[in-house]
Assembly symmetry: D3
Homo-oligomer: 188 residues x 6
């Protein structure tokens, strides 16, 4: 899995990056990829993936987030998408622990002191697994009724350093998953 | 996923439980399952799944372990097997954190203070994903050269309570993974 | 497989219910589902699934039908879609036999005394198998040139009872198919 | 699907015909196949596929049966195996109805007047779906405790004619399933 | 695989024939198919499949081409699509060698004396593998900057004969691939 | 795909290298691999993969061959196995053309002047595609009735150079197949 940390500019997330081959179309990265960037979040209704959100007409937005867009081509299966997503979230919690932040993971959500730090969705396109994770930099512009928290409020101010550290950690996690899958004989 | 906690007796693990339909053959549990039991561990060479272990002629043994045997029939793919395994290990670390134990996860291994608490393997049969996780109750009978630790040494003495708590946590995690995989529309 | 019998209102079928996650979007049913409802049938050209119908510019309509919308997420394969469809049609014929009605099944069509009682289509979305079965309540509003018959003409007047009985029968059939698939060891 | 009716000799069924490529190895039939033959049935324990039977140490035997061995290579999935099996059993019931015999299908079993006419199993090999259906010619040599019936007792004496008629019917059913799977566009 | 050589008329290729079921919709050919026809080539941007071309805003056009549209339903996987494509291109080179033409194959491109003879793309729809191969009849109307060559310039003037010969060769190649896949037992 | 050319010693091929993970077990190569080595060929009956050979009790042997053992983990499908095999054989013919040798490919066989230069088999294990290609160095020890030829008889005497050149060519071909599969958007 190749990783790209976009440092030189902001990219806003409106949900369209969830489409297949987004990393290849925009950055020329072929195959499994993780692109980490920073920008606003405001997901257009027609790009919403979570049908529960659609049914409840939830808004998905934040003024400033670190975004992770992941694509895995090995095969497009929703159960694998969902399992990888939870694993990546768990890994992010482990990195946050290295920062000294105590988190609670509830499925694909990260909470700090009962406040929501992240959003995430995982699904498939006809050719790949696609995933978005967003972590609030500051808890501004969040939908009403959601108690949120951001990286700055928990003491993480070097956002670019955080992007690099987490980007590297997620790719290592995926590569370990992949490598281990190749070294086991099958069982009867 | 159905869970069975075997409380009334010890079952030793020699590796043969990694075969498909073990839970159905032995306990009549049909479909996705987690069986938690306690007993010795001494994996026969012909049952070893990790080819790296086979190449290095490693021994896999412990005098007293909590064992988790997981089978998932959704589809037999090694990448999903490996991803679910890492997620389950991360979940066990989260439960251990609830006990007040600080752990370090390295892929599918759990360490406490640099000492190895667990072993694990994940693979496929032609019809299912199969996984074994073993957690030392006490660090006895471990292969030479491995610095190990057990639950009792980290202050967890109610082993049956631990079996129940972790068994329930793993099943909840899997059910969340599964449920989330069904509520997302596909992406273009 | 969860079943929902819509008793309190009519729902017309225009073909759009064949899209993935229709049951979840409209009724909050997660996972494999069967929704049984009653209403008109008039399939819009852009929703037609059978390319043979499209090529022959067939109309698909009826003034009053019992509709079955089935979604199976296990995996989206057209051969499984087509096999399940024929099995469900065969099951409906068996239920009709319990009512004392002699039917002839031709693939996915049910005939009574040479007259067409039903329509059906089965396909896949990128994440699921989708199926529609429609059974005429009365043979009105049928395309010209089709000799049709309805439930009332063959002596079945308790339509809600029929909806319940058949809904339950189809779900039981699917559950039996699923359960049996889990209790067999693989062959060499 | 190619069909072969073995008319010139008896072949006993001991369970080994459930292995992959049996039709190719023994009759040179490449690809999807149905072989119909007549002979004793006595399944060796090591060839038993149904783990429920194994757990209950059931015997599977009969002195004289019509056997159907089916192999489908499209893809080896247990749910498709189980669905096709039930469909084939339903088709056999429809053919029996043409003979004037009233049957009751319970999943993959055929009953006449509450007596068991047939046995069946469906599973996968790593490359194919495999299925066995056996229909008693006479109800002799049946395991104790099973109330059985045979074709002769229900008035079907031309066994070779029955083998031909049913063989043809099953192949037509499969071909219809396959053909229909190719003529439908995918749904959103 | 069924083959259709369209002799009686020209068909221009604008890229839309890459959609699933094109052969069934337009010619009533069910299942795996190869349609060979002759006509202009001018691929609309919205039909472009190769994202590399899209990124570079390449034009794909030629005044006169022999076109091959292939659809394979066995299963929709991009790696199989890409492997079959290269094999078909290699086969076309072998047929050209029979004509006495020395070619160089670079992946999915055919060159004669360093000039480009062909274009090709292979992908999947949600239900099938789809492929287009185009061979210049004359090197006219080619995008600027591409050094191209056509069949007539390399001495092949009986275009219809070439369409028949290559059509037959590609189908034989596919059928050999398929047949061989059915005659091998699986390995441990 | 990683390539290993075994230069320092001879390895005889008895068919057992067709089993999954052979390259990892013997050389520590994880994932997709091509191992090229030189040695005798004498395939044991119990390792024969081609059921046609088994049915005809053919011998598969040669005193001196260049062997290619390929394993692809992307997914274990016999059609992909068979397609890749034919493509690799076509590629070997292209390399031989670079040596100035005119070959005829018949499916997965290479002929020079009507004499057989190679043998090959492709199949799946439950976790991978496996392939063997063998090319005679000299046509000695060949089964009776087979007219064979070897590399030395067609003027290729630098066997190690041939092993390197072909090994590199096959890996490049596979990598091109893989890369191209990742750069195409899916079709409707």
């Amino acid at each position: 899995m190749e990783v790209l940390i976009v440092r030189d500019r902001r990219i806003d997330y409106d949900g369209s990056a969830i489409q297949s081959h987004w990393a290849y179309r925009n950055f020329g990265i072929l195959g499994n990829s993780l692109v980490v960037f920073r920008g606003k979040c405001n997901v257009k209704v027609e790009e919403m993936i979570d049908i529960e959100d659609l049914r409840q007409k939830k808004e998905i937005k934040s003024d400033d987030m670190v975004h992770y867009i992941i694509e895995v081509f090995d095969f497009p299966n929703v159960l694998l998408a969902s399992a990888l997503q939870k694993l990546f979230i768990a890994k992010l919690c482990e990195v946050l622990a290295d920062y000294g932040v105590k988190t609670a993971r509830r499925g694909d959500d990260i909470y700090v002191n009962g406040k929501k730090l992240s959003i995430s969705i995982a699904t498939v396109s006809p050719v790949s697994i696609k995933m978005h994770i967003g972590i609030n930099v500051e808890a501004n512009g969040i939908p009403e009724g959601v108690e949120a928290v951001g990286l700055k409020e928990i003491g993480i101010n070097d956002i670019e350093g955080f992007m690099e550290k987490t980007g590297k950690a997620l790719v290592e996690e995926f590569n370990k998953v992949k490598r281990d899958s190749l070294k086991v004989r099958w069982a009867q």
